[in-house]
């Protein structure tokens, strides 16, 4: 469905007083998203997740690599032609508050793309009121009551409801891929699960593929069922594999740090035995010839400082040895970009038998 090959994106920032600075937002990201599949990206703030999402939806250009949608290389197309492909990829914004136009009712918000869609399809859309039916249908699909929601303005809805409307709007153009960038981080905890469940539902019911972008690994796990997890650090994927593989036996120290940072429910869970933390805070300005994570890595060696590691499959004894370089990989293999890979158990595990758990 979507295949990204070595996507890179650099920004030139012109500080008011500082000179030009180059920010490498993405440094060669590649992944394949099969139909109905899911890929999750996790990483800390500023590592390029949103940039990736925007590139995938055509809101941002990339300056290296190739994006292939349905076998078509997009860089070969004219911008106008590209739009058609990008339309199949829809973004769900992080902030449901700004993702809906505050001056328009939900009816208007959904109506416009639906009418446009109907016009494109030509006669099949039938009567002028057809879009309204479709709107109701979509709202029901995302678990909202159409009659109650349609005439309302965004500010009259709760965060969770808004996010559902956002999803419904994305569905108006019959997308094949949804990009969810921090889709639940601004939503009240109690309602997050509902949205995550909805996304998972859409995958299974409509066969929509999902790119899930987050810094919260736990949520990635909820939608990325059977999909891949990519750990991204300063624009570079440092580890990837099946979601559960990566969570349970991360080999890259960065992944381990990220996973260690997931709070554990004391009393219900126990911290993993090998919890680690980065030795210092992120400084995007440092440039090293070697591993980008080396300055913060608790396990860094001299080699890390000089050699830049690239993604390699986990060594023969690992769990996720895959089929290699063959096209159309079935189960994704577990890869990492670390010179000293060592699987560590860092995530909290449920307290086996204790007090009652739900």
């Amino acid at each position: 469905m979507i295949e990204a090959r070595g996507i890179t994106r650099t920004y030139q920032t012109h500080g008011q007083f500082t000179g030009t600075r180059t920010v490498h937002a993405l440094r060669g990201v590649d992944f394949t998203l099969p139909e109905g599949g899911a890929v999750s990206f996790i990483g800390e703030s500023g590592c390029g997740k949103t940039t990736l999402g925007k590139i995938l939806t055509g809101l941002e250009t990339f300056d290296g690599g190739e994006l292939v949608v349905d076998g078509v290389e997009l860089s070969a197309l004219k911008p106008r032609q590209r739009a058609k492909y990008f339309r199949r990829i829809q973004m769900i914004h992080q902030d449901p508050y700004s993702a809906l136009n505050p001056t328009r009712t939900i009816e208007a918000t959904l109506g416009d793309p639906l009418r446009m869609r109907a016009r494109e399809k030509g006669g099949t859309g039938a009567g002028p009121g057809a879009w309204r039916e479709r709107a109701c249908e979509l709202l029901t699909l995302v678990g909202l009551e159409p009659e109650a929601v349609l005439p309302k303005y965004p500010h009259q809805l709760s965060g969770g409801q808004r996010q559902r409307v956002v999803i419904a709007r994305a569905l108006t153009v019959d997308p094949q891929v949804l990009i969810a960038d921090e889709a639940v981080s601004m939503i009240d905890v109690s309602m997050r699960l509902g949205i995550l469940g909805l996304l998972r539902d859409l995958r299974s019911r409509l066969g929509i593929s999902l790119v899930f972008i987050t810094h919260d690994v736990a949520t990635a796990r909820y939608v990325g069922d059977g999909g891949e997890l990519h750990v991204i650090y300063r624009g570079e994927v440092v580890e990837r594999g099946l979601t559960d593989d990566v969570i349970l036996s991360p080999v890259h120290p960065y992944t381990q740090c990220l996973l260690s940072a997931v709070p554990i429910m004391r009393g219900l869970e126990e911290p993993g035995p090998d919890r680690t933390a980065p030795t210092r805070a992120l400084d995007e300005r440092t440039d090293t010839p070697g591993c980008l994570f080396e300055p913060r890595c608790p396990f860094a060696t001299d080699e890390c400082f000089t050699t830049h590691p690239t993604l390699v499959p986990l060594g023969g004894d690992g769990a996720g040895v895959g089929a290699g370089e063959a096209e159309g990989v079935g189960a994704a293999e577990h890869q990492h970009a670390c010179l000293n890979p060592a699987a560590r158990r860092v995530v909290g595990v449920e307290v086996g038998a204790g007090a009652a758990g739900p």
Partner: protein
Amino acid sequence: MSEVQVRGLTVEYQTSAGWLPAVAGASLDLRAGEITGLVGESGSGKSTLALSLLNAVPAPGRIAAGSIEVAGVGDVVRLTGRQLRKVRGGELGYVFQASQNSLNPLKTIGKQLLDLGRSHEVSDLRALIARAKDLANRMGLDGDRVLDSYQHELSGGMRQRVGIVFALVLNAKVLILDEPTTALDMLSQASVLDIVRKVHDENQLSTLIITHDIGAISEIADRLAVMYGGRIVEDGPLLDVLRRPTHPYTKALIGATARITGDVDAARPLPGRPPDLTTVARVGCVFRERCPFAVAACADTEPPLEAWEAGRRRACHVEPSTVLAGQPGTPAAVGEPA
């Protein structure tokens, strides 16, 4: 020994529908050396409660009833003017919800620190600076550099830590943190929580930490209080509450938290949407509409917050055992739209 005793605190806001309580009859103790976590959904009144500890409810709000006894100070609700100002920052350190923006953008951190010292008539400003640097260093900041920086030169996590420095530099014994990690990513959140714990322990503080993320709070809190619709609906020792939630809301909240391991399908979203000032039930239990255990009594009498076990309190008409057993009658609603 309680450092802070909140009794029957009611805080109201003026709305177009009149004065409505954002916090109703809340009673809470902050004990020395203990971190109390306060969780609840958005709009449940957490920030309002925290601000009223400093008698700083923003307009158009007012403390309508209740008392807040702070050890060595007395009832904060009765304080005014200079005395109140001295207590703020002096005895009660507050770390702001949006701590990223809690600093004057036009002044260096050091200068603001001096302002703070002068405002509290600290005689030895040099010592104050030294203490601030020390605090900063202990939180993993470069004290010298930070004091010479402007707010915009610091990252979100650094500002959060500077906020804690400001709260503690005058030797406050009580530390109140409102959503200290909400805007931060996982790594920063972990380090901030870590620091809070460390500082708390080193200074033997009474800490109140507010969040809506039950996971985050369980990392560091000793006690847990759960708020809903302006009421504290349950409290007790953290581990105990997490293991044995006896209020349906607590139970649901724990159950709605995404976990990194275990059965994905075990977690369930809460039905309905959280109430706000105007939609919260005026009579009966505030949670009853979303409560799978609701009984007839819930509709007309509000359950009081009462101790039911040593160190545990709850406000529910349903028997603790019923809730613990997790066999509700008929769920009130499923799916979000209520």
